[in-house]
């Protein structure tokens, strides 16, 4: 990178916020995927004006610019594919306002999701999106990927809580979208267009987030089944009853086995060897208890080997911690893991679960599967104990088989972690020609120089 550019960056953000050391570049080269690419420089702005100035400079100089939050993404979205400037937004960490009477908060991009949740809980308010990495991921990253979480079944995803955004265009303009009220219909809905665009259209610096009242009571329920298909069918049964649990998840016995490999894990001993259904009901005390009772009955009727509904002390929290840490724990089970992400209509999730199990057997692969089965979402994770190269044909066949099956059951393929880099080639399969072309034109109108997070979401120069 030219010395003149570095000089300007230092003028904008201050010399201490411009990092060139190999160690810093390495540390900002990847997220929670194993893809990595070194940026040429890391810039850590402290305010919106600095973000805008960096963006303007990058457009002028045609330098690739990749935004990054906590780097916990699972799609390679923050990997600086073409080098250039890596913009670390964790320094924008102010909760600007919490307006309790109007139920919203104005939050900067670098605020950690759980910090926001805790801050609003003091006022008995609730910010529902709870991605598994909520203890450390940032609001900016949540907006960029429209992150969801365990409670998205009842409460929806990040997109559903966005009233407005403060964004910086790649050309350096600071812009506000949306507003501070739920109804806001002036012009196009740019807020929801930018949300989920993974830093390819604009840089999110702050968000106006809708809050709701904190539920009075929560009940956790855990049921064990002989196999994943049965657990998944129990989920479909719950949903067809018209119940609205806040969480309804499954994990198979392979996943449970991996969790039990860690001493002192938070699962109760009876869970061992079972495929699990994990649920939470919430609301007013009696309603939540009654709903949990209904769920328990459905589980028993669906062939559950055990159902547990009462907990001591921190047991519940530890159970959910295990669930949130599952994906990372699976990483330990083999040096290489291939994470898939498929969704089928809720009524077909049992079928999909069985197909995944069979696929593993057919190709001689260990597959651990978990997911938010209630909306048909499953994450089959292929656990490899050998370098990927040796198993490539089997993995390729299994992945293709699973994806084809999901599509033929009326499902979709990349649903949760974003398209990012890992799945950029996939848009071509999912989206028809005109849709892709429209996206390309949109991208060009936001980012005429094409500097923003190049190579992501829309297949571009790199992946083609």
């Amino acid at each position: 990178m030219k010395e003149t550019v570095l000089h300007k960056l230092r003028e904008i953000a201050g010399p201490r916020s411009v990092l060139l050391e190999k160690e810093e570049l390495l540390r900002h080269s990847c997220d929670a995927t194993r893809r990595s690419e070194l940026p040429e420089v890391v810039v850590c702005p402290g305010n919106v004006e600095q973000v805008a100035a960096v963006a303007r400079l990058c457009t002028e100089e045609r330098i690739p610019l990749t935004p990054r939050g906590a780097g916990t993404g699972l799609s390679g979205g923050s990997v600086p594919l073409e080098g250039g400037v890596l913009l670390s937004l964790t320094g924008l960490r102010r909760i600007r306002e919490i307006v309790t009477e109007d139920l919203y908060a104005v939050v900067e991009a670098g605020v950690v999701t759980e910090e926001l949740k805790k801050a609003v809980e003091i006022s008995s308010l609730f910010y529902p999106p709870d991605p598994a990495s909520q203890k450390t991921c940032t609001v900016g990253g949540n907006v960029a990927t429209s992150a969801r979480g365990l409670r998205s079944l009842k409460y929806g995803v990040t997109k559903n809580y966005l009233l407005g955004l403060e964004i910086v265009l790649p050309t350096g303009e600071v812009m506000k979208t949306g507003g501070r009220t739920v109804k806001n219909v002036a012009g196009f809905d740019l807020t929801r267009l930018v949300c989920g665009s993974e830093g390819t259209l604009a840089l999110v610096t702050a968000a106006v987030l809708k809050l709701i009242p904190l539920p009075e009571h929560r009940v956790t329920l855990l049921a064990g089944f002989p196999d994943l298909e049965q657990a998944a069918r129990a989920v479909s049964a719950v949903m067809s009853l018209g119940a609205t649990p806040s969480i309804l998840d499954v994990m198979d016995s392979v996943s449970v086995g991996v969790l039990f490999r860690r001493e002192g894990n938070g699962l109760p001993p009876e869970a061992k060897g079972h495929s699990l259904l994990l649920a939470e009901t919430d609301g007013f005390r009696e309603a939540a208890e009654q709903e949990a009772q209904t769920l328990e009955q459905v589980c028993v009727d669906s062939g559950a080997a055990f159902v547990r509904r009462s907990w001591d002390g921190e047991e519940e929290e530890r159970l959910w911690e295990e669930r949130r840490g599952l994906l990372s724990a699976l990483g330990k089970a083999g040096p290489v893991t291939v994470l898939e992400d498929v969704t089928v209509p809720g009524s077909r999730v049992g079928e999909m679960a069985r197909f995944v199990t069979e696929t593993g057997k057919r190709h001689g692969l260990r597959i651990a599967t978990f997911g938010h089965a209630a909306d048909g979402n499953l994450h089959p994770v292929i656990l490899l104990d050998a370098p990927l190269a040796e198993k490539t044909p089997a993995v390729q066949a299994a992945v293709n088989g699973i994806q084809q099956r999901a599509l033929s059951l009326g499902g979709a393929v990349p649903v949760e972690y974003g398209i990012g880099l890992e799945r950029a080639g996939f848009l071509k399969k999912e989206e028809s020609g005109p849709a892709l072309e429209t996206m390309r034109r949109l991208k060009a109108s936001f980012d005429p120089a094409g500097i923003l997070n190049p190579g992501k979401v829309i297949p571009g120069r790199v992946t083609e």
Binding site: E21, K22, E23, E24, L26, R27, H28, C30, D31, A32, T33, R34, R35, S36, C44, A70, G71, T72, S88, T90, G91, R93, V112, E114, S133, K135, T136, C137, R262, E322, G325, L326, L327, S328, A329, G331, K332, P335, T337, V338, E340, P387, L388, A389, T392, V395, Q396, V399, Q403, P414, E422, R423, G425, F426
Partner: protein, 455 residues
């Protein structure tokens, strides 16, 4: 989704870096999910990716596969870890970040990267402390000269110019006689009512700086009817050495200590320092690869010993003050006791068993205080930043006494709480027990003498 290899697999350079090479399987377990970001105290203070557990592991990984050299910055990032082990608790894959970081420090030391200041302390002062018992005396003499010059004198202050720390820092004073010089090698209680015998591993801090902790421990055990051996040939546990990556010196210390203790002759080897305890229990074998079978199983924190072997009932049977105003206390978990050894209930059980004491849990009691032994000297600014959260937590409880089980935490808490303007006493659990016991004894003596006068 394409299934081409997502990253270039590089054969680790195990021959070049044998110390970290040993951990290559452990390093691979880290999938960089970043959950440790939420708990790593240095990342929380700096918000810098390379100052967190995930960052440090990936830097070591980069060195091991040849993408990075052992640079000054690498050295700095690896040194700035406090070894609080919070990341290990948070890690869903159970990656032993602590072992990986110590191994990386060993690689640095093997290449001559042990700063003069640390070498002086580790290989000069602490190591020789065992061979030259009067080291405390010398330090104390120095100190008295210094005391004459400054009212805030402590020989540790001599280090201040070397490490550029605050002149206002509150530091302990060297004892004029080390604890081990003060006591006999075998202390037999008047009544051996417990039938138990322990060997006491005193540790440098309790031997040279906080001799009250050691005295209190022996006195409490004596009253509980426990025989205490204080083996002469024991020395520094070696933690400061292996923590700095100097495994060789640490091994010398460990071997000497293993030789000094005949664990088969006692019911337990007790410690009053969380880090010493961790070294004896785990690190001698895990880090230094020594055979400690028959020894490490017997190592117990003093509070753990009293709860598990003597029983709190025996403690409650002693004359403890029962009247008067309740004393409000809280407890800080030393990292190396709670996460290091899984001991956190026992000290609380002890405290709660005392009449006239009200226990109040502080928020995040097991959050690192930033002390970390020598860390607070080499990284004072970071250390203080980490400590600030602790001061807030203590303030919230309204407790008048903060108890803990590690001299390093005591040093840090006294300094940081005084700076935060909190007027609280910071004591070791054993000191507190002894103080409560003595309060009643003193009262009893007084009453007796008054009664006698009346007669």
């Amino acid at each position: 989704m394409s299934v081409e290899p997502k990253f270039v697999y590089r054969e680790p350079l195990k021959d070049v870096y044998p110390r970290v090479g040993k951990f290559s399987d452990e390093i691979v377990k880290c999938i960089k999910c970043g959950l440790c970001r939420a708990v790593c105290p240095t990342l929380i203070e700096t918000l810098s990716e390379s100052q967190g557990a995930r960052g440090r592991v990936s830097l070591v990984e980069a060195v091991l596969d040849g993408r990075l050299s052992l640079s000054d910055i690498f050295d700095e990032r690896i040194s700035s870890c406090i070894n609080c082990k919070a990341c290990i608790d948070a890690c869903p894959s159970g990656v032993r970040v602590d072992d990986i970081i110590l191994a990386a420090r060993a690689e640095l030391v093997a290449r001559g990267r042990l700063p003069f200041f640390k070498r002086l302390i580790l290989r000069g002062l602490l190591k020789r402390g065992r061979l030259l018992p009067p080291v405390g005396k010398l330090a104390s003499l120095f100190q008295r000269v210094l005391l004459a010059l400054s009212p805030k004198g402590s020989a540790l202050r001599l280090l201040l110019p070397a490490v550029r720390i605050d002149r206002e820092r509150r530091l302990p004073v060297f004892a004029s006689r080390s604890f081990r010089e003060q006591v006999s090698e075998r202390i037999v209680p008047e009544e051996r009512k417990s039938g138990l015998r322990v060997a006491y591993f005193v540790g440098c801090s309790s031997n040279l700086l906080y001799t009250d902790v050691a005295t209190a421990t022996v006195e409490v055990l004596k009253r509980l009817g426990v025989e205490v051996l204080v083996p002469r040939e024991q020395g520094c546990c070696g933690t400061p050495m292996f923590n700095a990556g100097d495994f060789e010196t640490a091994r010398d210390m460990a071997r000497a200590n293993l030789k000094a203790f005949d664990a088969s002759a006692v019911d337990a080897v007790i410690v009053t320092c969380a880090s010493c305890g961790l070294a004896l229990k785990r690190e001698y074998s895990a880090i230094l690869e020594l055979d400690t079978s028959g020894f490490s199983e017997k190592v117990m924190d003093a509070s753990e010993f009293i709860v598990k072997k003597v029983g709190v009932e025996a403690l409650r049977a002693l004359p403890l003050p029962r009247d008067g105003e309740n004393e409000v206390v809280t407890y800080h978990d030393p990292c190396h006791l709670k996460r290091g050894q899984g001991v956190w209930e026992e000290p609380r059980q002890l405290i709660k068993s005392l009449p006239g004491v009200e226990f109040r849990e502080m928020p995040e009691a097991d959050r690192c205080c930033g002390g970390g032994g020598l860390y607070s000297f080499t990284h004072y600014e970071m250390s203080m930043a980490v400590a600030a959260h602790k001061a807030e937590a203590v303030r919230e409880t309204g407790a008048r006494v903060v108890l803990t089980s590690c001299p390093s935490c005591i040093m840090q808490l006294r300094d940081t709480l005084a700076r935060a303007g909190l007027d609280v006493e910071v004591s070791h659990v054993m000191e507190f027990l002894y103080r409560r016991l003595r309060a009643n004894e003193a009262a009893t003596v007084l009453e007796t003498s008054i009664a006698q006068q009346r007669v």
